[in-house]
């Protein structure tokens, strides 16, 4: 077998050139520049390559509502737990297991005897349902990328014992909310390349027009992120509101028409609560009436009504997940961060998910957005 000798887009010399351009851009602004990315994978890549340690000290790159697990609302998890408590078998992506609802997590429910199984792909849900004579509930979570997978399986006319509990979210709606926040300092968005591969970058044009903020679509290799940030910061400083595709090898203006068609055929936009942030208009993806027979929220409507009355957890008031997800705080601003709230005993959802800002910062030893203290000599 032949392998490429080196992976592209990880060339440090090119990275340094981009870092210098970023520095020059921020220097030219002569003030603090704040931008937001909306993707856990971007934060992971930044942490993995130590990108934050070489950002200009006057550049703030906030992580917005980009962790699908984190923004799944506690009552949505409670709804799933309620179905499991009723004796139904529940299938979930692994990341959701330990996210606390208002009283319990799915992992707690499993430990108490509920039938909760982890799946890695939506297609597994259909397979499991086919092999089962009883109802199987698929807790369908995530953004555009996983929503397409859910849509695809529903379009294949799965067995009716497959019941889909959709908690899918639509990211552009949350970007609208951040952009519309009166005291928002966000001067531009770095959009997630993989989601844009489905939706197309044209999707962001109305947002850019409405809020006069630039959006740059970026990939996930270190050079992709740096190139995207350079583009974004230059646009923000020059007050140029436009969409730029900095990930052209994967993203087009119109996206993936087949995937988009599937998404629109199966889901419609509806208002929904994003954990810790707000009720977001058109923020949730709900199953269309044509798919009612697979819609767990209708099939089990009576059970789910009881979920609304659960009390809040006592610590919820100290947790700053909401402020972190909406870009008003950073993980290190939270007094629980790394203390009461740690990956092995998380308080907030942001410390649970591998895409959560708190978890990523904790695991990579980040404790503030400013330049990390370097050890040893600086690179030439």
């Amino acid at each position: 077998m032949n392998y490429p000798p080196r992976l592209e887009f990880r060339n440090p010399a090119q990275g340094r050139a981009l870092q210098q351009r970023l520095q020059r851009a921020v220097d030219r602004a002569g003030r603090e520049v704040t931008v937001m990315h909306v993707c856990g994978s971007h934060e992971q890549a930044m942490a993995r390559y130590g990108l934050r340690s070489s950002f200009p000290s006057d550049l703030r790159v906030l992580m917005g509502p980009g962790c699908p697990v984190c923004v799944t609302d506690a009552p949505e998890i409670d709804a799933c737990i309620a179905l499991a408590a009723q004796g139904l078998r529940v299938l979930t992506y692994g990341d959701m297991l330990r996210v606390p609802g208002r009283a319990l997590s799915l992992a707690d429910a499993k430990a108490a005897g509920a039938r909760v199984d982890v799946i890695y792909a939506a297609t597994q849900a259909t397979e499991i349902a086919k092999q089962s004579s009883e109802p199987v509930v698929f807790f369908a979570t995530g953004f555009e990328t996983t929503a397409v997978a859910t849509a695809a399986l529903l379009l294949q006319n799965p067995p009716e014992n497959l019941q889909v509990l959709s908690a899918h979210k639509w990211v552009p709606a949350a970007m609208e909310v951040v952009a519309a926040t009166a005291d928002s300092q966000v001067e531009g968005f770095l959009a997630a390349g993989h989601a844009a591969a489905i939706t197309g970058y044209g999707l962001f044009e109305p947002l850019v027009q409405r809020h006069q903020l630039p959006v740059v679509v970026a990939g996930f290799e270190p050079l992709d992120i740096l190139a995207g940030l350079v583009e974004l910061v230059e646009l923000a400083i020059d007050k140029k509101a436009q969409v730029v595709n900095a990930f052209p090898r994967c993203v087009s203006r119109d996206g993936n028409p087949k995937a988009l068609r599937a998404l629109r055929e199966v889901f419609e936009l509806g208002d929904g609560q994003w954990r810790g942030i707000a009720e977001i208009a058109d923020g949730n993806l709900k199953l269309r009436p044509e798919f009612a027979k697979w819609d767990a929220s209708l099939t089990y409507a009576e059970t789910l009504r009881s979920v609304a009355e659960l009390p809040e957890r006592p610590w919820a008031s100290d947790c700053r997940c909401g402020a972190i997800l909406s870009g008003q705080s950073e993980p290190s601003d939270c007094k629980l961060f790394g203390q009461e709230c740690r990956p092995e005993a998380p308080v907030g959802a942001c410390m649970v998910s591998s895409e959560g800002a708190c978890r990523i910062w904790f695991e990579h030893g980040l404790d503030g957005h400013h330049r990390q203290r370097r050890v040893g000599p600086s690179p030439a």
Binding site: M1, Y3, P5, L7, R10, P12, G15, Q19, A47, R48, Y49, G50, L51, R52, S53, S54, P222, L226, E344, E363, H364, G365, L366, Q372, R374, V375, G376, P379
Partner: protein, 339 residues
């Protein structure tokens, strides 16, 4: 922040070589120990022996699958112990003992193959198994085979994992992560097996050359087994009270290993090796040591991967070429039962 030991039951993490395992050992095996020699908790024990040191170490092996690309549990059981001795400077192996626990129904033909591989590894290491024990347990009471090996060696100078000094260069003797990635790809039939082989090998011959070339400049040795390079260097930094900065670009990897780790999203720095050593060496002896490594068949891909710095707090960092980040040991071993 030291957290009290709250766990009630043994979990997989307690055998992963990371913080949870050390916490378990500290809270159970060393709970009532005050003897500093016992508390040293190194890979082996060093006992004064005339003008030399007798080094003793022991290791149990539970790998799944029992045969993996590039090796098997028999070869592993010899190399694990021989390498632990070598990491303390004891390159001459006086004796090995081996205990085998077999599951009822295990194939005697497979046992012969494992034994042949054990003997081959002994020949490579210049070691002999001089005592042994055999037990059989009922079906389901043990998974196929467990091999437990003890080794005795001698050395004039005991080398410790925690002997790093500021200014030292950190060297690895070859490519990263091959053992863990090969075992994982065998387990999950990734189709990379042809190219991806475990590195399991006895290192005493290689380390003998390193010690000849580096002399007193060799400050620290450790084999990055469970938890990989991250766990080994974190512990070395912790014990020496220093900071280590690795250079990502300098890390040697096989093409197949790189492909597998990208494909699986597994950090090769946290994956087990069974035929690699980390060496802390004074900069004056660095070139001689690299030369010695490169002229040995097991050291062809050896590389200078990092630098030791004085630091208020122990730390392990990596310079990715784009910036620096800290590396942390994780309790969640990506692959249980690999050695």
């Amino acid at each position: 922040m030291k957290t009290p030991f709250a766990d009630q039951f043994i979990a997989a993490k307690h055998g992963a070589g990371g913080p949870a395992m050390r916490a378990l050992i500290g809270s159970v095996f060393l709970a009532d120990v005050e003897d500093s020699e016992v508390l040293a908790m190194d890979d082996g024990a060093a006992i004064p022996f005339g003008d030399q040191w007798l080094v003793v170490t022991t290791d149990a092996h539970v790998v799944h699958p029992v045969f993996f690309p590039g090796g098997d549990i028999g070869r592993l059981s010899v190399c694990g112990v021989v390498n632990d001795l070598a990491m303390m400077g004891a390159c001459d192996v006086l004796a090995l003992t081996s205990s085998v626990i077999l599951e009822e129904g295990f194939s005697i033909e497979l046992l012969r193959r494992i034994h042949a591989s054990t003997q081959q590894a002994c020949r490579e290491a210049g070691a002999k198994i001089l005592a042994g024990d055999t037990k059989v347990m009922g079906r389901g009471e043990v998974d196929q085979i467990v091999l437990s090996t003890t080794g005795i060696g001698v050395t004039r100078r005991v080398i410790r994992g925690g002997g790093l000094q500021p200014g030292d260069a950190v060297v690895i003797t070859g490519t990263l992560g091959d053992h863990g990635l090969a075992v994982l790809s065998a387990r999950h039939s990734l189709g990379l097996q042809g190219d991806l082989l475990s590195d399991v090998a006895p290192l005493n011959g290689l380390i003998r050359q390193v010690l000849l070339a580096g002399g007193a400049g060799i400050h620290a040795l450790k084999d990055p087994t469970r938890g990989g390079v991250t766990a080994a260097l974190s512990e070395m930094a912790e014990r020496a009270g220093v900071a280590i900065v690795l250079q990502q670009q300098a890390l040697p990897m096989s093409d197949a290993g790189r492909a597998a780790s990208e494909l699986l999203g597994i950090d090769p720095l946290s994956v087990a090796n069974e035929g690699k050593a980390l060496i802390g060496v004074h900069p004056d002896q660095l070139q001689a040591v690299l030369q010695a490594l490169h002229s040995h068949p097991l050291g062809q891909a050896a590389a200078h991967i990092g630098q030791v710095h004085a630091s208020e707090k122990p730390a392990l960092l990596i310079d990715t070429g784009f910036g620096q980040r800290r590396l942390f040991e994780k309790d969640a071993e990506p692959l249980p039962r690999i050695c």
